[in-house]
Symmetry: C2
Subunit: 265 residues, 2 copies
C-alpha cells in the first residue's frame, strides 16, 4: 500500500467531520477523503441491517478511491457494522468507538461510566459490552439522546431548548455518581461545553474523536503507513446529497473551510 | 383499471399515516397499500434531486403492486416531485398539498396565511407559489419547523420542550394578523392542539390530510374508481427499514393497530 494514499473517513453525514478535525490536528500531513452519506442520514434511528448495508457500500466507495485505511466515524455504524467490515475488507479499518472505550476504562476511577449516544448505538449495547469486557466491574448507564443530533443539525448549539433537552436527558446520571461520560455520537462534541456545565466540573467528559485520532496515528506508525512527505495535505469531500449544503453545514463540524464537495450517489 | 384495486400511499416514513387516517375515515371500503421509506427518511432536509429520485422509485413500487391511484402523502415530496410524477406516470396521482391550498384560499378571510413545514417544503416555495396563483393578494409567511418533526418522532407530543419549540417557531406569526395556518408537514397534525393553543382560538389551523381525503373521494368518483364492494378493506404496509419499528411507531400516527409490515428495500 502506498503510504501517501489518503485516509478514508465515512459517516452518515456531517458529524464525522468532528473526527476528521481531530485527525487533521494530530496528523497534519495526511491526505484525507471524507464521505458523508447525507442522502440517507441519519443512521442513529435505523436498523442493524440497513446501517450495515450502508456501511459496506460506503467502505467499498472509499476503497475504490484508493485509501490506505478507513475510519468509521459514525458511532452507530461502528456499533452495527464494524465486525462485518473487518470480515469483508482487508485494509485497516478503525472505528471511532474502539479507542475511546480503552481510554475511558483506564481513566474512570470508579468504573461508573455514562454513555450519551443515538438510539441505535445505545440499543446495540456495543459500548456497554466492550467496556464490560475490559472492566467487568464497570457500571455503565447509556442514554439515547436522539434530539441532540437534530438540535445540532438545526444549529441550535447555544440555545435554551438545547440546554433544556440536555438537562432532561442527563437527569438519570445525577444520582448515579458517574465519574466519566463518553460522547458516543459525533454531533455531541459541539455540545461538550453545555454537557460539562449540566453535569458539573467533577465528571470527565470524553470525546472519542481524540482517542480515535491517537489510535489511528499508532496504527499507521505500526504499519509504516504514515505519509512521509511534509506537503500540505489534500482533502477531498464527497456527499450523497446536496454538495452545497454539505459545504455550508460541514464547516461548523470541521471548524475549517470546505471549498469543494463532490456528489457521490 | 380495476376499481377494487388498492389506493397507493407513500411517504418518507410514518407521517403519511395521518393522511391514511383521514382517507380511511372518509373512504372506509377502500383497500390501501402504504409505503414508508423509513430507510431514507427524513425527506424534509434533503435536496430537490434526491427527493425527486426517491419519489419516482416509491411510485414505481406502488404501480408494481397494482394500485389504481397514488397519494403522495409527504409534503416535501409533493413540493419537489409532484410535477415529475405526473409526467412519468399515467395513473391518477394526488398530492397531499394540492387540495388544502384550494381550501385555505377559500376560507381565509384576509388572505394572510401562515405555513408550517419542513425546511425543504418552505424552501421550495411550493405552497407560497400555488396560493398566490389562486389568490394574488395573499400574504404568505412560511416557517420551517424542522425540530417539530424530530420531537413528534421521539414521542415528545405533550412535552414542555415541544411547547417551547412551538412558541419559538410561531413568534413571527404573532404580529402579522394571520387568520389561517396550514400544517404543511404530516407530523404536525399530532401537535395541532399545541399549535392552536400557541396561536389562540381566532386563527384557523388547517390539516391538509382532510382536504386531501375529500379530493381523493371526488377524483375516484369522477373516474368511476370507487370500490363498489362494502367488504372490510384490506390494508398492506411496507417499510424500507425495520418493519417492527414501523408497526410500533406507526400506530401513533394512524391511530389504529398495524399488525403486519413487510420490508421493501
Amino acid at each position: 500500500m502506498n503510504n501517501q494514499a489518503p485516509i478514508g473517513i465515512f459517516d452518515s453525514g456531517f458529524g464525522g467531520l468532528t473526527v476528521m478535525k481531530a485527525i487533521r490536528q494530530l496528523l497534519p500531513h495526511e491526505n484525507i477523503i471524507y464521505f458523508g452519506d447525507t442522502a440517507r442520514l441519519p443512521y442513529g434511528t435505523k436498523s442493524f441491517e440497513t446501517v450495515t448495508q450502508y456501511s459496506i457500500e460506503n467502505t467499498s466507495f472509499l476503497v475504490q478511491q484508493g485509501v490506505k485505511a478507513v475510519v468509521v466515524a459514525c458511532h452507530t455504524a461502528c456499533s452495527h457494522a464494524l465486525d462485518t467490515l473487518h470480515e469483508k475488507f482487508s485494509l485497516p479499518i478503525l472505528g471511532v468507538t474502539t479507542a475511546s472505550i480503552e481510554d475511558i476504562v483506564h481513566h474512570s476511577p470508579s468504573g461508573k461510566i455514562g454513555i450519551l449516544a443515538t438510539r441505535g448505538t445505545i440499543a446495540s449495547g456495543n459500548y456497554q459490552t466492550h467496556i464490560k469486557k475490559l472492566l467487568p466491574s464497570a457500571e455503565v448507564t447509556g442514554i439515547a439522546c436522539q434530539l441532540l443530533v437534530n438540535l445540532v443539525e438545526e444549529g441550535y448549539i447555544d440555545h435554551h431548548l438545547t440546554e433544556l433537552a440536555i438537562q432532561d436527558y442527563l437527569r438519570p446520571f445525577l444520582n448515579q455518581q458517574i465519574d466519566s461520560i463518553i460522547l458516543g455520537c459525533t454531533h455531541f462534541p459541539l455540545l461538550q461545553h453545555l454537557i460539562q456545565k449540566a453535569v458539573g466540573p467533577h465528571i470527565q467528559v470524553i470525546d472519542p474523536a481524540q482517542s480515535c485520532a491517537r489510535a489511528l496515528k499508532e496504527l499507521l506508525t505500526d504499519k509504516q503507513l504514515l505519509n512521509p512527505t511534509a506537503l500540505s495535505p489534500n482533502y477531498r469531500f464527497y456527499a450523497s446529497d446536496d454538495p452545497e449544503k454539505f459545504s455550508a453545514l460541514g464547516q461548523r463540524f470541521l471548524d475549517h473551510p470546505i471549498h469543494h464537495v463532490e456528489k457521490n450517489t
